[in-house]
Symmetry: C2
């Protein structure tokens, strides 16, 4: 992390000034024990807000609702649930998502127009609106309620994901839940970010896009894209620090802080992939362009054969090169270099004698690094994923009922 940016202990989405959150067990997520399954993030004053959403053509009702409202400059709250995705639910689903925002707005004493909605869970089932209505009334907000919200959006996640950093007189924080981690349904990424920096909705949108491109978009658990994937950011400007203006040092600092928050959450999501026992970090260097570096890094980290080999500490490097070769990134076999855990296995496209036991030991670590050099240009990208274990299959082959 850059020196100007400070990681806050116990940091979360309510670490920035003027943000509160809370959650309750409403009974929507029946497999969750009594873990919270319904939560609210609230700002004391109006926020610039922006969002990024699933590219799936099948979009959940709450995603459609958020897309209508964003970007905006008077948002106040997000209400979110786990246990039901409210996706593939037709007109009824849209009415339910709108009603959920109205119920939250009533509880918070604000207008429904200023409330965003997110859901994750089973596709094709209606939201249990009676439980939602009762649950929202039970939610108490507090200045450290971010932790509860992080729990409320968890499904098969094993640990809550939250972080906050301080820089330049402002704070950026966030909570997230993982992709490819939902039992029994399709993995959804939800990420709610907050900041007390003063930013316009337009600048916030472009900063969010940049941060997500180097972080959450570089995570692959299983290659599926959920109809509910949602990343939201709200900026209330309550820090009193200098406004974030285009081309200023303050803007650069804000971007770096947002990048770091998103990368932290991305790594946490990858580490906690369904059935995962280790984090895989793939860096592709010297690609012809940043897009090509990203293509290659993502292809490697999402290859089932690479993921299974990492699971078994198998230095089966041909799979890594083959995954890159089908990624669409330009490469020339005779220029490739490859290292695992910092140990070189391939130079100029052919195997070099390597310390096989050393590589096997490096692959046994909880974080396995793979570095591929293309020698085609200057661009670098990093992607994160996890190993493929028998437990992933066990989790995802269970009955949905």
């Amino acid at each position: 992390m850059p020196a100007e940016i400070e990681l806050l202990p116990q940091g979360t989405v309510t670490s920035a000034a003027g943000f509160k959150a809370g959650a309750t067990f409403a009974g929507i997520n029946k497999s969750a024990g009594n873990k919270p399954d319904l939560g609210i993030l609230f700002s004391e004053s109006a926020c610039a807000a922006a969002g990024l959403f699933t590219t799936n053509q099948i979009k959940a009702a709450p995603v459609r609702l958020c897309q209508q409202k964003l970007p905006g400059n008077r948002m106040r709250a997000v209400v979110a649930n786990s246990g039901c995705a409210n996706a593939a639910t037709g007109k009824q689903g849209q009415d339910d998502a709108a009603a959920m925002s109205t119920l939250a707005a009533r509880h918070l004493g604000i207008t429904a127009e200023d409330v965003l909605v997110a859901s994750t869970g089973i596709i094709g089932e209606r939201l249990p609106m009676a439980l939602v209505e009762k649950g929202i009334k039970d939610i108490n907000l507090s200045g450290d309620g971010g932790h509860q919200l992080a729990e409320a959006i968890m499904t098969t996640d094993t640990i809550p994901k939250e972080v906050a950093v301080a820089a330049g007189g402002f704070v950026v924080g966030g909570v997230a839940k993982g992709s490819g981690m939902i039992h029994p349904q399709l993995g959804t990424l939800l990420c709610f970010l907050s900041t007390d920096a003063r930013v316009s909705p337009g600048l916030l949108s472009s900063a969010l896009r940049k941060a997500v491109d180097v972080s959450l978009n570089m995570v692959s658990i299983d290659g599926d894209i959920s109809p509910n994937d949602t990343v939201l950011i709200m900026a209330n400007g309550l820090s009193g620090s200098k406004p974030i203006n285009p081309g200023t040092e303050q803007q650069s600092l804000f971007q770096q802080a947002l990048d770091q928050v998103c990368i932290h959450l991305a790594r946490a999501i990858a580490s906690d992939g369904e059935g995962a026992s280790k984090l895989i970090e793939v860096t592709v260097r010297q690609a012809a362009s940043i897009d090509q570096a990203r293509l290659a890094a993502r292809a490697i980290v999402s290859s089932p054969l690479v993921k299974a080999a990492v699971h078994g500490n198998d230095p089966n490097w041909g799979r890594i090169i083959a995954a890159a070769g089908r990624s669409g990134a330009d490469m020339v076999e005779s220029r490739l270099g490859l290292s695992i855990g910092g140990l070189c296995l391939v130079k100029a496209g052919v195997a070099v004698p390597f310390d096989k036991d050393g590589v096997i030991i490096a692959m046994g670590d909880s974080r396995v690094t793979i570095e591929l050099e293309l020698n085609m240009g200057e661009a670098t990208a990093t992607a994160w994923g996890c190993d493929l274990s028998a437990e992933y299959v066990a989790i995802n082959s269970s009955y949905s009922s």
Copy 2:
């Protein structure tokens, strides 16, 4: 299968007139017990020949060699091994592939120019040329040697894949090994086809492309593409039947026969995917175009979440619709229809009351059919795959040595 096309009992790649084959255990594939690992397909007279190869930018040496020689009109033989891919082996690998064709040509009394080469197995290791040389000398050809060749190219395949059909006075036959089935290396598709029909190299090339588009290209085991994927066809014209001329009924019959052979092999490959317990057959109907139908069918059949759900007999239909939604095929949620095992689950984009026990029973079958209707146009495509089991992970996480 159309009525004019007859499935030959015990049919294989040597069922067409003038083709012989043989194989031996050369010791290249050390994990194969004493299953043959080196084989030859031979035609008594010169053949029109065509091939289709991996789209991976990392291409194995034998693939490069075949690409230089094809399409051609005087091919006589294919020599193939399992146990070593001869991929990522640099200049040495190209010399070894050329030497392998020379050794086979010498054994067969023909010229090396007329011999094609294919390999499958570990990436990054040199072919053991002393074993190849000795092994080739041990190969005896016979008119039913296709069975041995089918065995020689197997790796983690559990059954040999071979078929032949007769139609219009000619025979089309083939052998194949599966994709995503190789322990301990990346899954390779190898398919060798033969016919005694009289066809020009140009027409043979286009017929092969059409047949592969509806068969082998519609199989997905794990989404990885091997540097060694190779489909070859040789036509020697020895049947004495009418020549296959463009626009004739005979051409249509030849295309249908070739399609059927390739579809048979494609289904056999999907059924025998690593760790697979069932065949998944996905048909997408009423797509706006054939390309879109194929995109959607392939996305569904290769989704890890769909594959895991099928493994567990879990009627978790949201995963199917979500996979189609991210495929790139145009769709409108409110027009979707979905059936599993012939039982309707979704109409107009929303769940209908369905016989859940009936669907669970249908999913327990060794062949699970999924049908998605897009209601966007007239195009239909079918894709084949297999379920995702814990055994797949076990197979693919073992040490490569």
